[in-house]
Structure formats: structure tokens, C-alpha cells
């Protein structure tokens, strides 16, 4: 078996999602190669070469890969796909964006968002916002798979390095151009990598009030998350959203404050190790998944909690 993992990175550092994806590849079993496509990204290729469990790195460096546009990245992956039995990428907005393009070109039905490897052809994946788990068997000769990162441990880094081979650039279609991005700068940990997350919901009432969530998060060294309702109301930016269509997280401790617990939100956080819910409505569905529930006024309880931790 020969497996290709497409690395997610920011041209200077490899992202944790790549390490989780390598673990999923190792569970399938076989030679695991990593494709690093980027611009001025040699430091990423060097890091990739030190990931435990891989046998080679393919590095393709060109300005057209700087912003990971799906058209160019997809065609590049197709160009190196020959000889691989599996092509894997993390089920983040990075992987979701380009991998179906690869599957279509290879005439393969992609398996999205796997949470376990049952055997070489069979995988488990959540459907209906995680209400059900489907066991799916693929009959395609090449498997194209996105991996739910929270379901697999990160593959460790080792001291020794494997070979880095340079791959060839594929001409750009030039039909999509990067214009700009607004990436939130924060000293807090990244939501999907955080050990502790403090999340707020609509009950916060305003972006001003959301500061009590941030204060608790900073005291705990935690990331800040939010429900869809809080994002839609404009209290916090979209990249805070945890849920079916936002980020999937599984920290050691998830504190849900003023979040009722719609199934779409639970889909994004119910695999957290310990869940705490603070809500004034004792019938809120969030209490059904919480390990510790506190019924009360969040505007009193949260500052008190911040003072006591």
C-alpha cells in the first residue's frame, strides 16, 4: 500500500492537522509520503521530513501554490497521484476545498471526514450532524479521504529525517486569483489545537459582554469559541464558530456558557473529554452532554469562576 498525505501548512510551519492525518494514514498501513506544496516553503518540507511514520517527502515550491488555491493545488495532486492507493488530507477548510477536485479528476467517490479506519476499504464517518455514525466501504481502486483531525492523535516528530524529493510544478489555469485575507491575530491558542476552550452563546447579548468569556479564557490559557447564534449576531468573528458547519473540536475541557446546545453545536464539541455547561435554563439540551452543569446567571457565575481558577 502506498499513501499520499497532502500537508496543510502556512509556508513556514506545518499544521497540527497534518500530523493527525499522518496517524490516520499509518492506521491504514503502508508507505506514507507527504506532499508539501507551497511558496518559499522549504522549512515546511524539512519539518515534514521529521514526522514519525513517513517514508518520503515530495516538495513542490512555486509562487502559484502560495495561497493553496484549489484549482492549482488540485491539479498538482492529480499529477503526483499515480502509484498511490490512497490520497489523504485533513477535513479542514484547506482539505475540503481542493480534495473533491482531485477525486472528481480520478473518478473516485471521496470518503469525507473519517473518524476511524476499520480495514483497508472500510471507514467510519459521522452523518446528519453526527446524529449517526455510518460504516462505509469503498469499492474505488484509489481511495480519496479527508480525515477528522480530532479523531486521530498527532503523529510525533522524530530527530531523524527522510529524503525530500523535489516535484514538478503544474501550469496554472490562471482562472482564480488570491486578493486578500483577514486572518485573526491572537495570542490565544488555536481553537482546533487548544487543550481548553471557553465558548459563548447568544445569551451573552453583545460583543462587549463577550469580554467576560475572553477574560475566563485568558485566565485558563484557553481558546475562545462560540455558537452559531453568537456568530450570526455579530458578537464574534466567523472563525470562532464551533459546530456542524464550523470547527470540530475535542479539547480536554470545554466550557459552554450561555449556549443552549442545538444538535448542530453539539456536533462540533461532544467528543471533548470534560464538558462544563453554565446556563440559566435548566432544561437546556447542553446539560444532557455536560459532565458538570451549573444553572445560573452567567453574568454572575463567569466572573466568579474567573476569580477562582
Amino acid at each position: 500500500m502506498s499513501i499520499l498525505v497532502v500537508a496543510e501548512h502556512d509556508n513556514s510551519e506545518i499544521k497540527g492537522s497534518t500530523l493527525n492525518t499522518v496517524t490516520a494514514a499509518s492506521e491504514i498501513g503502508g508507505d506514507v509520503s507527504i506532499l508539501v506544496a507551497g511558496s518559499e516553503s522549504s522549512s515546511v518540507a524539512e519539518q515534514a521530513a521529521k514526522i514519525s511514520g513517513i517514508s518520503s517527502v515530495i516538495h513542490v515550491d512555486d509562487p502559484i501554490y502560495k495561497n493553496f488555491l484549489a484549482e492549482d493545488l488540485g491539479n498538482l495532486v492529480v499529477s503526483v497521484a499515480d502509484g498511490f492507493n490512497y490520497i489523504l488530507a485533513p477535513a479542514t477548510t484547506f482539505g475540503k476545498n481542493f480534495l473533491p477536485r482531485v477525486a472528481a479528476k480520478l473518478d473516485v467517490q471521496q470518503i469525507s471526514d473519517i473518524i476511524s479506519v476499520e480495514d483497508a476499504d472500510t471507514f467510519k464517518r459521522p452523518i446528519y450532524a453526527g446524529s449517526c455514525i455510518a460504516t462505509v466501504k469503498s469499492t474505488d481502486s484509489v481511495k480519496v479521504i479527508t480525515v477528522r483531525t480530532t479523531a486521530f492523535d498527532a503523529s510525533p516528530m522524530v530527530d531523524s529525517s527522510v529524503n525530500v524529493d523535489l516535484g514538478a510544478v503544474v501550469d496554472s489555469l490562471n482562472n482564480s486569483k488570491f486578493v486578500s485575507d483577514e486572518i485573526a491575530e491572537s495570542d490565544r491558542p488555536e481553537l482546533t489545537a487548544a487543550d481548553v476552550i471557553v465558548s459563548g452563546g447568544r445569551a451573552l447579548g453583545s460583543s462587549e459582554n463577550f469580554k467576560i468569556i475572553e477574560a475566563l479564557a485568558d485566565k485558563l490559557g484557553a481558546a475562545v469559541g462560540a455558537s452559531r447564534a453568537a456568530v450570526d449576531a455579530g458578537y464574534v468573528p466567523n472563525d470562532y464558530q464551533v459546530g456542524q458547519t464550523g470547527k470540530i473540536v475535542a479539547p480536554s475541557l470545554y466550557i459552554a456558557i450561555g449556549i443552549s446546545g442545538a444538535i448542530q453545536h453539539l456536533a462540533g464539541m461532544k467528543d471533548s473529554k470534560v464538558i462544563v455547561a453554565i446556563n440559566k435554563d435548566e432544561d437546556a439540551p447542553i446539560f444532557q452532554v455536560a459532565d458538570y452543569g451549573l444553572v445560573g446567571d452567567l453574568f454572575e457565575a463567569v466572573p466568579e469562576l474567573t476569580d477562582s481558577v
Binding site: 467517490q109 446528519y128 462505509v136 489555469l173 482564480s176 488570491f178 486578500s180
Partner: protein
């Protein structure tokens, strides 16, 4: 400018879906079906482009059984001009749906294709990207803002770290995220009027493409349930439990 909007009939988002008792699939007997929420956002965006004079025609299309006519009519009531049902036996996978849509695009020649980023049943998030790939078109997935500028579309996308703006050459495929717009409700006169709009039916088996399934579902189960937790009476008790029982804070 002509806009094509592929949509999907799915279980209503308020329904709690459960497996069948033999765990062979999900139980869809007697559950409410609706237009996939992300598809409603796609229809709304297309209709707004028409209302602002930037688009001339909005065509909705779905790949599914006869019962999907109900969802096509719902989209006509939201303002789409006409509908196409590509009639299939059974539920097709995203790869096959994208192949069928490729044929529809070839005959309709739209300048813009807008569709939902994912359907809330399979949560696959594939069809738009596959369609763009098969047509060698550019794509802008997870859109939260869409502006047409001549022969290009300027699209702001929701990505993991924040927002990204790209400029794609038309024709292009755009997939919608939640915050692109807030879909309207259909008014009664529009629902009545929608019954008179054109709805044409094509048979997928006449298209000459391979739509066979590539995967099979071996079983569908409930996810592991969490053990019921405890209610605490005070912040002090909560902190004590987190420190000494759960040991997640120090």
C-alpha cells in the same frame, strides 16, 4: 447572466435522525423533508442578483426522485424562474450527482453556478468542488460575500483562520456558507405562482453516464452516548470538581 442553482431534498434540519432498527441505514420513514438550508441560501443569492439586475434568469435543478419536485417548487416560490428535475433511481452519490450536473451545465450554459457547500444529510461537502473540477471551472467555496464585477466574481470565503477573498473568472462555481444571506420566506401569492412555472423532467438514464455507487453503507449506528453528568450548586463546587475529580485544571 444566467445562474444555475443545484439544490437537494434532505431531511428537515429540525428532525432528529435515528438509525433503522436493523442498523442498515437511517430511518427516513415519515420524516419531514425540506430544501437543504445551504441550498436555500444559494437560491436566495441568485434571486437577489436577478432582482438587482445583474442576472437575467435563475434556473434550479435537482438530481433525485419524483418527490423532489416539491423542493423545486419551493425554490420557484422563492423566485427562481424555472426548474429541472434530473430523475434518478435511488439516491446518487456526490460524484454521480456532479456528473449529472455537468450534463445540465453543458446544455444550459450558465455564467454562474451557485450551490450549497454541503447537504445536511451526508455532510460530504463535495458536489460543488467536483462539478467545478469536471468542468475545469474555478471555484469559490464557503462564500460569505459575492460580488459580480464584469466577467469576474469577487468572493469572500470563510476559512479556518478567518476570511479570504479571491477573484474568479466566470463561468465559475460558488458554494454558500451560512452567512452569505438570510433566505426569505415564500409568500402565498408566490407559492401559487410557482405552480405555473416551468418544471422540466429529464431521465438520468438517458444521459449516458456512469452513476453507479462506489461506496456501500455497511451499518448506521448511534454515536456513543456520554454518561449523564452531575449538576453543581455553586461556582466553588464546580472549581473543586474540575480540580480534584476531573483534574482538568490546576
Amino acid at each position: 447572466m444566467k445562474i444555475l442553482v443545484p439544490i437537494k431534498r434532505v431531511v428537515d434540519y429540525n428532525v432528529k435522525v435515528r438509525p433503522l432498527s436493523d442498523n442498515s441505514n437511517v430511518d427516513l420513514n415519515n420524516v419531514k423533508m425540506s430544501v437543504n438550508p445551504f441550498c436555500e441560501i444559494a437560491v436566495e443569492e441568485a434571486v437577489r442578483l436577478k432582482e438587482s439586475g445583474q442576472a437575467s434568469e435563475v434556473v434550479v435543478v435537482t438530481v433525485g426522485g419524483d418527490e423532489s419536485q416539491e423542493q423545486l417548487r419551493a425554490c420557484l416560490a422563492l423566485g427562481a424562474d424555472r426548474a429541472i428535475l434530473a430523475q434518478s433511481e435511488g439516491l446518487l452519490e456526490p460524484l454521480a450527482i456532479a456528473k449529472v450536473l455537468t450534463k445540465i451545465v453543458e446544455s444550459e450554459n450558465p455564467n454562474l453556478i451557485i450551490l450549497g457547500k454541503q447537504a445536511i444529510d451526508g455532510d460530504n461537502n463535495q458536489t460543488g468542488q467536483m462539478l467545478a473540477s469536471m468542468l475545469d471551472m474555478p471555484q469559490a467555496t464557503f462564500a460569505s460575500e459575492l460580488k459580480i464585477e464584469g466577467d469576474n466574481a469577487l468572493v469572500t470565503r470563510e476559512i479556518d483562520g478567518g476570511l479570504q477573498t479571491i477573484n474568479v473568472t466566470l463561468p465559475a462555481v460558488v458554494t454558500t456558507d451560512l452567512r452569505l444571506n438570510e433566505p426569505r420566506y415564500a409568500s402565498l401569492p408566490n407559492i401559487m405562482q410557482a405552480k405555473k412555472k416551468e418544471l422540466s423532467i429529464q431521465n438520468v438514464s438517458d444521459l449516458g453516464i456512469d452513476v453507479s455507487n462506489r461506496t456501500s453503507i455497511l451499518s448506521v449506528e448511534l454515536p456513543p452516548t456520554r454518561e449523564a453528568g452531575v449538576m453543581v450548586d455553586s461556582v466553588d463546587e464546580l472549581v473543586e470538581k474540575l480540580k480534584n475529580e476531573a483534574k482538568v485544571i490546576t
